[in-house]
Symmetry: C2
Subunit: 310 residues, 2 copies
């Protein structure tokens, strides 16, 4: 890497963030932590760009004595201990309002796929089993009750879109909020009265395994679980058991306990749509994330207030 001395240097920690380079390269020299020669030249970088869901590599952070800012390319920052970051005198930013609508669209798509039998239909036609079409669960969206867990930006966006498509929406979260949709008295009550339970909550130290085997059991044999939030929120083993035993009708998971999740883990599990944490990673969101990151980095290097500090 050719380091131009007139551009501040920033270090990108994860390879899957490489798509941000075109947006950042005009103002910054972007170094890649996964390239040894880059890492050697990173000793005195002042800003680190990370994916907030990945556990932060503290050794690396401590090996960067000039570091002043950790900028998350994601909305969530569950991989980062805020207190520890603060105790090291570091600033922290995360993405805000960049992809909530995209994540919501993904959840809506997972519900339509399930209730309209799109994947099943495709399999039947390709296998010459057109005549089995009546076996498809083909249900009007307007009869589907959606329960949303977490009423943040993504939860509200799912609620708006589901409402526009005629679905009945309720929600639950630990705190009441001023929104148009009714809050259930408890998560269990919400699961028991929902056809699709859509998890959009922020993941933190207090809510690991929130979607427990008990929640899955009351969601029940006609229920669908959709997780577009974080794998840690869901008891994934319980989901797999419930799907295998027919105690849960279907699931759509974009996030997993471990990412990447292994293909083998899901080999014998049907009625589950698996996507590689892509719900929020649209081309357009990537541009917005990059622009917001760039603005935060320019503010940091220009000693101005950060746009989206945590």
């Amino acid at each position: 890497v050719e380091i131009l001395e007139n551009k501040p240097r920033i270090l990108l920690l994860h390879r899957h963030l490489e798509g941000l380079v075109p947006i950042l390269a005009h103002h910054f020299t972007v170094l890649f932590a996964w390239v040894p020669e880059h890492l050697e030249k990173s000793f005195d970088v002042r800003a680190l760009v990370v994916a907030g869901e990945v556990p932060l590599d503290r050794d690396l952070v401590m090996a960067l004595p000039s570091l002043g800012l950790i900028a998350c390319a994601s909305t969530g920052y569950d991989g980062i201990d805020r207190d520890w970051v603060r105790s090291r005198g570091l600033l922290l930013t995360s993405a805000r309002m960049v992809n909530d609508q995209d994540v919501a669209d993904h959840a809506i798509g997972c519900m339509i796929m399930h209730y309209r039998g799109l994947q099943t239909g495709d399999r039947l036609v390709r296998n010459g089993k057109w005549a089995d079409a009546p076996s498809i669960v083909n249900r009007s969206l307007r009869s589907v009750r959606v329960g949303i867990v977490g009423m943040g930006e993504i939860g509200r966006s799912v609620a708006q879109k589901a409402t526009a498509l005629g679905m009945a929406v309720r929600w639950w979260g630990p705190n009441p909020k001023e929104v148009a949709w009714e809050r259930a008295s408890s998560l269990l009550e919400l699961a028991a009265t929902s056809d699709s339970l859509v998890v959009t909550a922020r993941s933190d130290a207090t809510n690991g395994g929130l979607i427990s085997s008990k929640v899955i059991d009351v969601l029940g044999r006609t229920g669908q679980l959709v997780n577009v939030a974080r794998g840690a929120l869901v008891d994934e083993d319980a989901v797999i058991s419930a799907l295998k035993a027919g105690r849960l009708a279907a699931a759509a998971l974009d996030v997993f306990r471990e990412e990447p999740t292994s293909g083998e883990r899901w080999q014998d599990v049907s009625r589950v749509l698996l996507t590689p944490h892509i719900a929020g990673r649209t081309q357009e969101a990537l541009v917005r994330i990059g622009e917001q990151l760039r603005a935060n980095l320019l503010a940091f290097f220009g000693d101005k207030p950060l746009l989206t500090p945590v």
Copy 2:
């Protein structure tokens, strides 16, 4: 079949309409044309229930001297020659406003699946290729331009839902209509300026192969074709060639030139979602269709005006 003389007898022509029986059985003795003993007893039935998309069996109709009504369980009646039916002195009804929203939801689902890479994502995760996720076309719905061919009940419903999800909507049909969306100057112009072309038009003798190889070519290598109307409207061979050659990005077909379409025909065709004509066949629509059919049949047998005459 036990024929109770106090109930009018009706003849069901196609096996896939069997789901209507529970709704009709209270008022009518329902005979099945595919059961020889039923057919024998059908000599003097006065009403025939058919799927309007299937070419009408004229020999059968002519063998029923007491016949007065042909009632379609479908909205479309492209399998029926209205003039011929009229010339035999028969009345004709079809379904109306029973499943336009369901068909539209199906089309919306096909677009989300494509632009958010749901099927591709699932395949990658299951094959242990999570790292290839950046290869997925992952695009915000709000950047997608939808072109709707035909602005009837289904077209309007697709337009409303797509608009609610932030997509840009234009349309084309042979006649201007008073709707909120702009009509393109021609079908070719619409295809050239759309990302997804959604076919919702009524099929008739004038518009066979409307979606020609030329239309497919201008829709182009980033375009998606969605057909939830009738197979006859689309040059299916041209779609297959374009998909194979990469001149069309994707297709989602719920209807086919021949139904059932054979699995072999699509064996080497990827990037196409195939469903067995299920877009409008939800549990809820089936109930509405059955109730409307029953109302038409009761009106006919009671010498009252038909609800939805053609």
